[in-house]
Symmetry: none
Subunit: 404 residues, 2 copies
């Protein structure tokens, strides 16, 4: 049975319920030694445990068995968008990542500064890993010296040798192939159109690359650039179209703000500390139906391999939960977008703890919010992440009966 | 959501991890009386219990709910090949089953000796269930007396009245319909081509059948033969193509050796006793990434209705597990291909206990390896068998991140 977005769109009905999706990035973990506890299991979480006791628990698989997700696809899944069918082009994702407000007709691409020889053979795809400052200076240079007819070029540093290119104009297409040969010793590729729709854009990109090469000629080691992942902003239905909810994102990090905007949420001004985010939630409580609150420090601690800091960051969020409950929400979900075990210092494939609290949820026997405890919950130990949003809506009495 | 082989092929990344898949054929069972224990639950299995305690457990459904699998499809599922999309033609399966080394252009079919009247009306589809010895003598006779132009015929007894026919030559096709009408009282069918590609092969088969009829004319009750399931060897991607692992099969029985070869594994020489198989594993430990060790006696005991012997056979395998652990594998999976309860003396639809051990698996609360204990494991009580291979690869750190 395939319950896709259109299926739920047909069931969505109006309601006044308030739904909160609290995502602690990279929440799931591993013990640091055999038989030990995960950071979540070890953390002081009396308030999350109370939600777990009154609610239902489980573990979700963001993409599928064994798949380690990036944050983009895993967040799409949490909002009910199958990440295999909703592919954000890499250029568009890069634009989201730096908070660039991509227009509906813009074409974005990822860029690298690189080193080439006189025949355009790539000697170093990363130009000796130049610093972000050097990268910013080169972006300034390109902005001054490169001009395209009837098209505006936005050139923005990202980090180290990486930058973002956005072309804005009429009739542009993402159907342009990479100029990055991906291999040292290969020649920089011509930007070719991958469909007839892409021909004009490919010519513009070729012109851009030619001018950029001249501008960079004496800027060793960054004497050339490579472009890949040309893409327009995807044109997907918004969560308001689909579920009839006005959504607000409270997220300090650009990537999550961009993704939320892509799904039609309002993006509220906030810093990235959890306490500040909860303050924003309180101030805007009257204005929206669904709140997406994104907490980044849990993932950062996992990526750093810092189990103890991850534990503290989780406890810190737990201490904020009473402020959330004081708002009297109708549905609360607490989960992560993926696991980031400090043991692995990276995202991982492990299922992610999830709790769903609502007065209508039919509580299970789980007493604590932790990886092992959640195995025994009513949501099951390997719950598809895309099934979460329908359950949130149902618990908010926002889905009508199917059939008579 | 469709996570198919191509999806995982794109994620596969190189690693040095060693993965062992230990299949105890027909592992799952039933108690012999209500309230009793299964053979696995009753067996002395301290070493498997230790793996279960340190690992994650569950029960897998090889094909789907309520489906009793044959060994071919259920093994395909364990290797990640959806058995509904990967149909080994019955002739090819029969060839695998007797260990026939089917070439890429060969066409194989299942054969029955049967009894017909003078008008080719089938009187007995099994020729009075003649013995395997009689069958072998008739195969010798056909080999001597039947000749096809430019095509070699291999005719091999299987069991009782059944034999295997393989045609080897150029331009042969499996698109030939059965000559077996499947009903007593019906006439033997002409071999018809089911596509234009099958026309020449159908003519060759008709010639084979005509000559065979003459050779068998006075061999009552086996005075004719029936052919069905014409098929070539499927041309599937190998596990090396898909997952980037060099695989070795350690299996005493022809059918499993054939299946492993079909998936691109090297088939190592071994007898069929588990202790011998573990010796082969030790000797070849340096040579492969993935080892498929197949233990047959558990299934045979179940098929014989011998609960006590199945229990002993399981305990015998358990006693070998320390030898496996001494090799310091990175990932170990222990499971069956299907259930074979002694109570039913046959394969059954019951989910099959599975344990996955690795340093990164995030242990659950399961303390013992048995059917009821596994219900409470992190893999869940009705886990799709095709999801097992991706999890094995992930735990071996052999799958890259999906998306950014």
């Amino acid at each position: 049975m395939d319950l896709d977005l259109e299926f739920y769109r047909d069931l969505a009905q109006p309601a006044t319920s308030k739904i909160v999706l609290l995502v602690m990035d990279g929440l799931g973990g591993l013990p640091m030694e055999p038989g030990g506890l995960t950071a979540l299991e070890a953390a002081e979480t009396p308030n999350l445990d109370a939600l777990a006791r009154e609610g239902i628990c489980g573990l979700h698989e963001p993409i599928g068995p064994g798949v380690t997700p990036g944050s983009g696809p895993s967040h799409l899944a949490l909002f009910g968008y199958d990440p295999l069918r909703h592919d954000v082009g890499r250029g568009a994702l890069a634009a989201l990542g730096v908070g660039f407000d991509l227009g509906p007709h813009d074409v974005a691409a990822r860029g690298n500064f690189c080193t080439v020889d006189k025949d355009l053979i790539v000697l170093d795809r990363r130009a000796g890993r130049i610093s972000t400052e050097q990268c910013a200076a080169l972006c300034d240079l390109l902005r001054e010296q490169v001009q395209l007819a009837n098209v505006t070029c936005f050139i923005q540093p990202v980090r180290d040798y990486r930058f973002l290119l956005v072309l804005r104009g009429n009739g542009l297409s993402g159907d342009v192939e990479d100029t990055d040969p991906q291999m040292v010793g290969e020649q920089v590729l011509e930007p070719k159109a991958s469909s007839s729709a892409g021909k004009r854009t490919a010519r513009l990109v070729a012109d851009f690359v030619r001018q950029a090469r001249e501008a960079l000629a004496d800027r060793q080691p960054a004497n050339m650039l490579l472009l890949r992942g040309f893409a327009r902003k995807p044109n997907w239905p918004t969560i308001e179209d689909l579920y009839g909810v006005r959504g607000a994102a409270i997220a300090g990090y650009p990537m999550y703000r961009g993704l939320a905007r892509l799904l039609g949420m309002d993006v509220l001004e906030t810093g990235s500390e959890p306490a500040e985010e909860f303050g924003v939630l309180e101030r805007h409580w009257a204005d929206y139906d669904l709140f997406f609150v994104h907490v980044k420090p849990t993932d950062a601690a996992g990526e750093d391999g810092d189990w103890a800091r991850k534990k503290e960051r989780i406890a810190e969020v737990d201490a904020l939960v009473p402020r959330l409950r004081a708002l009297q929400p109708d549905v609360v979900v607490v989960t992560g977008d993926h696991s980031t075990p400090a043991l692995l210092k990276a995202h991982s494939w492990h299922p992610v703890p999830v709790l769903l609290w609502s007065p209508h949820c039919r509580a299970d026997d789980v007493e604590r919010f932790g990886e092992r405890a959640c195995v025994h919950g009513a949501l099951g130990p390997r719950f598809r992440a895309v099934d979460l949003m329908p359950l949130m809506l149902a618990n908010g009495l926002r889905l009508a009966k199917f059939g008579a």
